[in-house]
């Protein structure tokens, strides 16, 4: 069943799932007066000054394609949360339409709306918003419970989804017993259990620390690979938007300023606001140590049975390759340390010295997935080039100051 719906979804790849047309939201007790002023071309600040009405969303129009991750971005107060809540009518629109699969949510009857929310549209929240008095599996089954599915069936389906997000062993725990990242997995599971075609996520990962955030983004991307849903994702984090978004929608002061792919927006920003937004993009964040690690280094294997020979062989190889430093590895390719020509020569003259004794005192290794901006800090700290190791601790290359600088210059020029 999944395969057919997947195929169906990919056929409709460019079809619109949601069409938003001239959507407005005015907060306050006199929205009609405010709407009239806006239609007359008055600025929203003037509306606020004269009527006290707050304009949350102002004439938003855009389309969201089937199966894409559509990221709403903007500064705090730009209307992202309001806009996403207009899509499932947690907030009543003041004017305009929100057409989901051809039906206008803004004009839908209560029954139809409840049905849509129960069956085909779900939401993930910044504060997770789990129900504290329910277990993980009860939380995950919440949507089905509301839709009237019996206990057995809904918990069976909830367990399936919990397994997908890696939490099935925690099914009987209470949310308060879980870490933030795990709680949001439950939030995600709750949204997935109803098997919606449209998912709304309001800053869903913003409350998590950077590591967990990336981890959750990966979980989401994996789920998205398995079954394409349409996801509207609010974020104020540019890295997040660039990482997961198929298209990005930039908001400012309740207005939609630009909609496009990240390349579109980076290369052709609609105005200064958008440009300013992207100036802060730190491309170094997307590169990791392994992207710049150089393999052409001298590596020396330490063999326990080797006596004096090691020194001259090492020195000779360093001379051939024109290197001042070399990396000492054991037989499992684990890094033992760095030696320099100087330290090797000093030891070669001592009787009974081993290769190990030539290793420089300040040794450190860089994990291959360390972001470049952190690598920079490390490299500056040490005089010698630093070895890069993979998750098993095995040597995969080294980073020198020169290599790093060259790489950074290229990135800046591009």
């Amino acid at each position: 069943m999944n395969t057919t719906s997947n195929a169906a979804r990919s056929n409709e790849a460019t079809e619109a799932k949601v069409v938003v047309k001239n959507l407005y939201k005015v907060f306050g007790n006199k929205p009609d007066v405010a709407m009239q002023m806006l239609y007359d071309g008055k600025h929203k600040d003037e509306v606020l000054r004269q009527t006290g009405q707050v304009v949350g969303v102002l004439d938003a129009s855009f389309e969201i394609n089937k199966g894409e991750i559509f990221v709403l971005m903007g500064l705090s107060g730009s209307g992202k949360s309001t806009l996403i809540r207009l899509l499932n009518r947690l907030i009543e629109p003041s004017a305009g339409s929100v057409i989901v699969d051809g039906e206008d949510v803004a004009k839908m009857s209560t029954d139809k709306l409840l049905n849509l929310r129960r069956k085909d549209m779900s939401m993930v929240f910044q504060s997770f918003a789990l129900l504290p008095h329910r277990t993980v599996v009860e939380n995950a089954a919440f949507g089905l419970e509301i839709a009237g599915v019996d206990v057995k069936e809904r918990e069976r389906r909830a367990m399936e989804v919990l397994e997908q997000v890696g939490l099935h062993t925690f099914a009987k725990h209470m949310p308060s017993q879980l870490s933030g990242g795990m709680q949001q997995r439950v939030g995600l599971a709750r949204a997935l259990t109803v098997n919606p075609s449209l998912m709304l996520m309001d800053e869903a990962f913003s409350a998590l620390d950077p590591l967990r955030r990336t981890e959750m983004q990966d979980v989401l991307m994996k789920l998205q690979q398995e079954q394409k849903r349409t996801i509207v994702f609010v974020s104020h984090d540019l890295d997040e938007a660039l990482r997961i978004g198929n298209r990005i929608c930039i908001m400012e002061g309740g207005r939609v300023v630009q909609v496009g792919t990240s390349d579109d927006i980076l290369q052709r920003p609609a105005d200064e606001y958008v440009k300013a937004f992207f100036n802060g993009v730190d491309t170094n964040k997307y590169l990791t140590a392994k992207d710049v690690a150089q393999k052409e280094q001298v590596t020396i294997f330490e063999r326990p049975d080797d006596l004096a020979n090691g020194f001259s062989a090492a020195l000779e190889r360093m001379r051939i390759y024109d290197r001042v430093y070399a990396f000492v590895l054991d037989e499992q390719h684990k890094v033992l340390g760095v030696v320099s020509a100087e330290s090797l020569m000093a030891c070669a003259n001592k009787s009974g010295a081993k290769l190990r004794d030539a290793i420089l005192p300040d040794k450190t290794a860089i994990p291959s997935n360390m972001p470049l901006n952190e690598v920079m800090k490390k490299v500056v700290e040490y005089a010698c080039p630093l070895p890069v190791i993979d998750e098993n601790g095995e040597y995969i290359g080294a980073i020198t100051k020169t290599v790093l600088l060259r790489k950074l210059c290229k990135e800046k020029l591009a």
Partner: protein, 277 residues
């Protein structure tokens, strides 16, 4: 400042008018309350005093451990020893019925006020009034409408004891995390589902705090209500005052205190345990 507003006269006239134009309404209310309180009282009286003690000790042990169970046992022995066994049963029956009525009225009002700003705006000052008006002032109209006995006692107690549960229910519902409520709506809750599955469960700790306070206020009012002949431990307190009998006053007062501590700690434990979860 020579003209005095006849507020007292107005209220007296209003009460008078109500009394003569109620078409037997108060009579009916009185009968219902009398019957139910009577039923509770005879129900409790049917339970032997030792069994009542055993129930308290058992619940005390379950919620708070053996130390508190021991305290309950000692308290009941002391109460029995001082000769207040029967009065204590009557007082408990009064507290029980007044609390039940307070909760039956107070929780719905609290929910209403919690979900509706206008209702809150109207109910709030009324609650303030009910709570700050000196308690025994209620006894006068209660006695006028319902005569002497336990009915006016229960009614005055209900008026006095209801505010906390209304207030805390409303507060509890208002304090439910905004996104939790949104989650309920986003997953398709009807207003009733939202109330039952999201708002009330989350407001439980506050609700129990309200119930606890209501019981405590009921206890204090039930003692005062002995002035209109409600009976129970209050009678002993009252007669000790009229006879200036320090010994009886202290003993009956001690009985009330012990009862108060037991009721307070036990009902409180229900709320606290929930908060921890």
């Amino acid at each position: 400042m020579s003209y005095k507003l006849p507020i007292g006269n107005w209220v007296a006239a209003g009460v008078d008018w109500l009394e003569h134009n109620d078409h037997g309404l108060f009579d009916k209310i009185g009968k219902i309350i009398d019957a139910s309180t009577g039923a509770i009282e005879s129900g409790l009286a049917f339970i032997p005093f030792w069994l009542l003690a055993a129930i308290f000790i058992g619940i005390g042990f379950w919620r708070l451990g053996w130390k508190f169970a021991l305290f309950c046992a000692a308290s009941f022995l002391l109460i029995d020893n001082m000769g207040f066994a029967n009065q204590t049963v009557v007082t408990l029956a009064l507290i029980f019925s007044a609390t039940l009525i307070s909760l039956a009225l107070g929780i719905p009002f609290g929910i209403w006020a919690g979900r509706n700003d206008r209702a809150e705006a109207v109910i709030r000052p009324i609650l303030d009034f009910m709570q700050t008006m000196p308690a025994f002032v209620y006894l006068i109209p209660a006695a006028m409408f319902f005569g002497l006995g336990r009915v006016p006692g229960v009614i005055a107690t209900v008026i006095f004891a209801m505010p906390p549960v209304v207030r805390l229910t409303s507060l509890g519902i208002r304090q439910v995390n905004k996104e939790q409520v949104e989650a309920g709506i986003a997953f398709g809750c009807t207003p009733t589902q939202l109330l039952l599955k999201v708002q009330i469960p989350s407001a439980m700790a506050n609700l129990f705090a309200g119930i606890n306070q209501t019981i405590m206020m009921a206890l204090s009012m039930v003692i005062i209500a002995s002035m209109v002949g409600a009976g129970g431990l209050g009678n002993d307190v009252l007669s000790s005052i009229s006879r200036l009998d320090i010994g009886l006053g202290f003993e009956s007062g001690l009985g009330v205190v012990l009862l108060a501590i037991m009721l307070d700690r036990i009902t409180e434990s229900f709320g606290v345990k929930r908060k921890v979860n």
